[in-house]
């Protein structure tokens, strides 16, 4: 297994195999993800969930690969569906979040005395 990983790594260009770079990126991104959410007021739980859901639509970047050459017909059909679904996720997600946040006036959620 390790030998295979080494061969796979050797076929990458550059100094570091993508897997190693990717794992570094993963490590730091996870840390950022943990730290970036500190105190969230309960009124923001759902909008934050909705906003990060929209960001998870980043999978559209992966879906776009399916429309490139080299992908056979079946793969392209799956890719079309993936692009459509991911776009729904993205557009719907950001619009829904925006709608939720419109209920918040400058001074905080409407209907409450203070923000």
């Amino acid at each position: 297994m390790l030998a295979l990983a080494a061969v796979s790594a050797a076929q990458d260009e550059g100094n570091l195999p993508f897997l190693i770079v990717g794992l570094w990126v993963l490590l730091l991104a996870v840390f950022v993800g943990f730290e970036v959410i500190s105190k969230v007021p309960p009124t923001l739980h759902t909008p934050l969930m909705s906003g990060s859901n929209a960001i998870s639509g980043i999978t559209i970047v992966g879906a776009l690969y399916c429309a490139t050459e080299g992908y056979p017909g079946f793969a392209k059909v799956l890719g079309f569906l993936a692009i459509a679904l991911a776009t729904i996720n993205v557009v719907g997600g950001f619009v829904v979040t925006d709608r939720m946040l419109r209920m918040f006036g400058r001074k905080g959620p409407r209907g409450k005395g203070r923000g």
Binding site: L4, A5, V7, S8, Q11, L19, V25, L26, A29, V30, F31, V32, G33, V36, I37, V40, P41, L44, H45, T46, P47, M49, S50, N53, A54, I55, S56, G57, I58, T59, I60, G62, A63, L64, Y65, C66, A67, T68, E69, G70, P72, F74, L78, G79, L81, A82, I83, A84, L85, A86, T87, I88, N89, V91, G93, V96, R99, M100, F104, R106
Partner: protein, 294 residues
């Protein structure tokens, strides 16, 4: 040859990578600002801008599209449906809408992984090569244990996220009641499904040959994972559903992250991990607010 897809960027890969970094920064700033009442609306806009940059950069990266209609049609249809869903839905239906949208994202990750299996199979080589053992300097597809693991994980997590989110949506929308669906939902059944899924994952990734078994193994894995997703979410009551949706939200981020390892795309790894990690924290926060444990 490190990339799975031949591509040609407009101004070289560097500008695409820099754009990706800007997008990642926008996502981080956006999520941060979404945690504060005054900054939340701006945070959403920043994140949306980041997504725009990410999509634009990817289009530039992959600009030699084989079938442009797939891109245009898919994005056009998706944007329209997404817009309609988001604007037509009443405010009270918001949480279930988040679940539904999240499910679509998970489905997309699943489909991309399956598409990648088919892509892998399509390149000429001997019939017995598996996702792990295919090394092909002559062709543009490179396998490897990391590739194989990432592909089967994407299938597994994407499928569970998709079906689980659909169950969450239908429960909140009042379409499904109760703790069981066709006998699913009980812990031993779930455990069995999970074991079968893991077995299929190992088979699909490491042993199934490209001649045909690989695709069927992957599809079988997807199917079992879909059933597992139903079984995991069905027993949960409506009051706990928002917490579950937050957890599923995190899973869809993890699915995007594993897709990043498949396609060797750093932005997928970053954004996916961001959503995955922040989703777990948010789930914990929501649990504590409800005084419940996970």
């Amino acid at each position: 040859m490190a990339e799975a897809v031949p591509h040609l960027a407009l101004a070289g890969d560097t500008s695409v990578e820099l754009a990706y970094m800007a997008a990642a920064l926008a996502f981080i700033v956006g999520i941060r600002r979404l945690s504060g009442v005054r900054t939340a609306a701006a945070g959403n806009r920043v994140a949306a801008l980041g997504m725009l940059v990410a999509i634009g950069a990817t289009l530039a990266l992959l600009w030699r599209f084989d079938a442009l209609w797939i891109v245009a049609g898919g994005m056009g249809a998706g944007a329209l449906v997404g817009w309609l869903l988001a604007t037509r839905v009443p405010m009270t239906a918001m949480p279930e809408m988040v679940a539904l949208l999240n499910g679509f994202g998970g489905a997309a990750s699943l489909l991309v992984a399956l598409s990648e299996v088919d892509h892998f199979r399509a390149h000429p080589a001997t019939d017995t090569e598996t996702l792990v053992f295919r090394f092909s300097a002559a062709h543009s597809v490179v396998g490897g244990p990391d590739y194989a693991t990432a592909v089967v994980l994407s299938i597994l997590i994407g499928a569970v996220t998709f079906s689980g989110s659909l169950v969450a949506w239908s429960k909140l929308a009042g379409k499904v009641k109760g703790n069981r669906l066709w006998g699913l939902g009980q812990k031993p059944v779930n455990a069995l499904l999970a074991l079968v899924a893991i077995g299929l994952a190992v088979w699909a990734g490491y042993f199934a040959g490209a001649d045909g078994a690989m695709l069927w193994a992957s599809l079988a894995l997807a199917l079992i994972a879909l059933v597992l997703g139903i079984g995991l979410v069905v027993p949960i009551g409506g009051a706990d559903m928002p917490v579950v949706i937050s957890l599923l939200n995190s899973y869809s981020g993890i699915a995007a992250m594993t897709t990043g390892f498949v396609l060797r795309n750093n932005l997928l790894i970053v954004a996916g991990s961001l959503v995955g990690a922040s989703g777990i924290i948010l789930t914990r926060i929501m649990c504590r607010a409800m005084n419940r444990s996970l």
